[in-house]
Symmetry: D2
Subunit: 282 residues, 4 copies
């Protein structure tokens, strides 16, 4: 029996950078929280303490800063592609380089060219990997998108066993704090425009859907995005069921016609799935 190094990676996390672009009086800002990492055969480092193939994570951080200044990326996806391309070129021992960027949702304060506030609490994300042999993956998405619908949501007809106490309902609140990630299948894409179309498909499908379960709505949302945007190969959605429980007011002599609820954080349902485009027959 021997002891061997398996999968491993190292890099720098929480590298925050803000870029201010000034076109005359009009300013734009981009705030990105960047994580970069390398994978490969770093056995001599782990086993022997030989650092000669280790690029310090401090250098990775400097690289994020330097490329943020040098590059003219129109999207965080393009910035991420520049980063992984750089790291594969400069780290001969790396088998792959990866980057994940989370973008803060700044928008202009109405009527001002150089003052900003947050647009929502949704954060946009992208994850990009590049292998030594040139295989590139670009996935984008978002975190922390609150969605709630007060109509068109039921849950009934489910399995029951001796431990089931849940009542069937044909009119419940359906709330979730959604995370999404979709994988792009093409290159030279207009990532900002595609993101808008995908998010529109996801959000409006959530709102319009006659929901029989979280699962069914999740699937309908992903399907809509895939049908409306050809440039993506799959969509992965994580939709915790943030239960809003109807309060029993009868002890106080009051009715409660689906009006007063307790929103809860725990326990919560967890539903997630990947929905893919597939060649017929495959």
């Amino acid at each position: 029996m021997a002891i061997v190094l398996g999968e491993n990676r190292y890099g720098k996390s929480r590298v925050r950078v803000m870029k201010v672009r000034r076109e005359g009086a009009r300013h734009e800002i981009f705030e990105w929280n960047v994580e970069v990492w390398l994978t490969g055969d770093f056995r001599s480092c782990f086993e022997d303490g030989d650092n000669s193939q280790i690029l310090p994570t401090d250098t990775m951080k400097n690289t994020v800063y330097s490329l943020a200044r040098a590059c003219s990326a129109a999207s965080m996806e393009e910035f991420g592609i520049e980063l992984v391309t750089h790291f594969i070129a400069t780290n001969p021992h790396a088998q792959s380089a990866g980057v994940r960027i989370v973008s803060t949702p700044w928008k202009h304060i109405d009527g001002f060219a150089d003052a900003f506030t947050h647009a929502s609490d949704k954060y946009d994300t992208t994850t990009i990997t590049l292998s030594r042999d040139g295989i590139r993956s670009v996935s984008s998405g978002f975190e922390k998108l609150w969605l709630l619908k007060t109509a068109k949501s039921a849950f009934a007809g489910y399995m029951k066993d001796r431990l089931t106490t849940l009542k069937e309902t044909h009119d419940r609140l359906f709330g979730t704090l959604a995370t999404a990630e979709w994988r792009y299948s093409g290159t030279d894409l207009d990532y900002n425009a595609l993101r808008q179309r995908i998010e529109w498909a996801l959000v409006t499908t959530f709102a319009a859907h006659d929901s029989l379960s979280v699962q069914q709505t999740l699937y309908a949302m992903a399907k809509a995005a895939l049908e409306q945007v050809n440039e993506i190969a799959d969509v992965h959605l994580v939709m915790p069921n943030k239960h809003c429980n109807l309060i029993d007011l009868s002890p106080f002599g009051q009715d409660n016609p689906n009006e007063i609820f307790v929103p809860t954080d725990e326990p919560h349902g967890s539903i997630e799935a990947r929905v893919s485009r597939s060649a017929i027959g495959s």
Copy 2:
């Protein structure tokens, strides 16, 4: 020497309630996180374990739910006033009742009458107290409002001692995560409309101000609110200085004309002040 009970209070925190108001197909939702408390002479409880004057905090929670159903408050301020009025009436030993409500920023998804998402990450607040002799205080405000300006912000001419290393600047980023609270001086107010006007005064003053310091901008914001809205007596602002530090790119042979910054959470400046309306001569 004796040991005596001093200031004390008890109550229920994090009572979450969501109310759905349906007017035909159009739904409105209100999500409130409520804290209620009582103060008074509860010595026998603390010293002797006599609970006969203690209304259980569980009952306070039930009261929030029951009044949420029964009342037709048009604002969280009016709901809070109903709550403290109830608690003063039903708790003869209480010298004062208080409530604090934090409201979740839901808005309709564009084009849908019964589907919602978060409007921003700002949370609206109100704090209301009522004393046994009828003195009522209503203060409202907000938490977690991100503000950032990329122009019209300087910091120079400050004190220097042997430990000062900060460089003067006439063009820095100025970011803050603002908390505000203003105290209403009248009764029978349209709290929702007043909130909009006060927030407009605060935010647009932040954006437009030629800032020489966080202190000066904070004061200008509060002054604008007091000048534009007669119904408030004072404004308290807490504006941490969320520093965005200019990165030195010269080690990499690059300049940095106020373009690339590191946003930081710590350490941070902390500036807070109350600005009041005062009778001349007082």
Copy 3:
């Protein structure tokens, strides 16, 4: 009517510093999260943007670092006293200087002189203020101390109104995440030794007390600390009631003899009080 500046303060928050003291092979570490602030008549700064009386918060940060190196304080209280004394001396416009320090709970890994882990999730605190005329206040305490007792806790005999549904109990779980602060009345104290004695009084009283309510136990804890330690003038305790709710297992044909509970974070009771030493007759 005029608009006037009221109470105000400014300073630096989240200044983190770690000090390593090496005595031969034995190392000790102190990790402190420091907040410093000044109050006084800073009207010209707020109203006119005159910064000539403003010591930059960046300098305050540097001062924390520099004094951490220079001073030989045996406790965070003594370090805090050095800081406020420095700031009062160097800021002629300040009416008072304050500091709050939160200490990370490091302890040695058993058997090692230079390796450490966290002892608990309790954080020790101190808050010190010094006014221009020499009045000094030193209060210490802790945050985030989890306490739970599974016996000797009842809650019965309380007020009931038409909204009360809580059942009386003579055997419940009593859990809290306690915050404490006590004010020292003397000078030249051995703060580390006193802290240990006060914490011992608080914790063992919690554990031993036959509790009729959170209020009664809170009072007994504070009273014990005041009786056992003469050097403190009062104790302030904040003890949220972190409810553990007995689960009704009867739908599943099971009993539940006070054995299976759901720990909850919300809603929660909130009980706080200050208990003071008082001259008889006062």
Copy 4:
């Protein structure tokens, strides 16, 4: 082209349960935060809204409560095994059932049989999966273990490129907030005793190791655990490098002989690896 459902799972998260075991006057408590999930062919549910194969997550929650009462598991691993065994038996459409448990670190207050506080801020974890064909995986570990060493840590001899500014060091602080997970290879194990031995190997190796890099120490820790405990097949460690930066005090005329540091949360290095036991030749 068609659109198809890919990998998916659903379940219940943040199911909190506390069990009090009373043996005469001596009480023991177990607080577990449980997540359970199922995977399988749930296409009809996602695609058609057919819920007939969906066990409600509310029932999963009830099951956790009911089994917590019924079972006599001596460890959270055994409790988890009971849970997945139950869910595979009662959900014919599930291909696998999983459970993850995070345990709160309660310990007795010294000298008391029925009062408790937290032992540290480390949380123990276990993740268990069972497939329909009987393949079972039990992995255990911990989260949030703070480790810091003030000696025997160097970082030098690394790659340098034009963006490298980091100085080599032979005496730095090495701090991390470690997450570990090891996979058990046998059955009928004494999980509590094994956990203690594995944690001892990890922690004492961290403390004793002459570290040339985080990577090398991580590998040494995992290797020690594998060498000392035969019942585990691999160890996965995640060790962010929580940098403590030496402060330059020379602007203030002071030296800093490795004594005063700024602990930071961001940016931070991220190092993770799996180390496995492998048959020679494989």
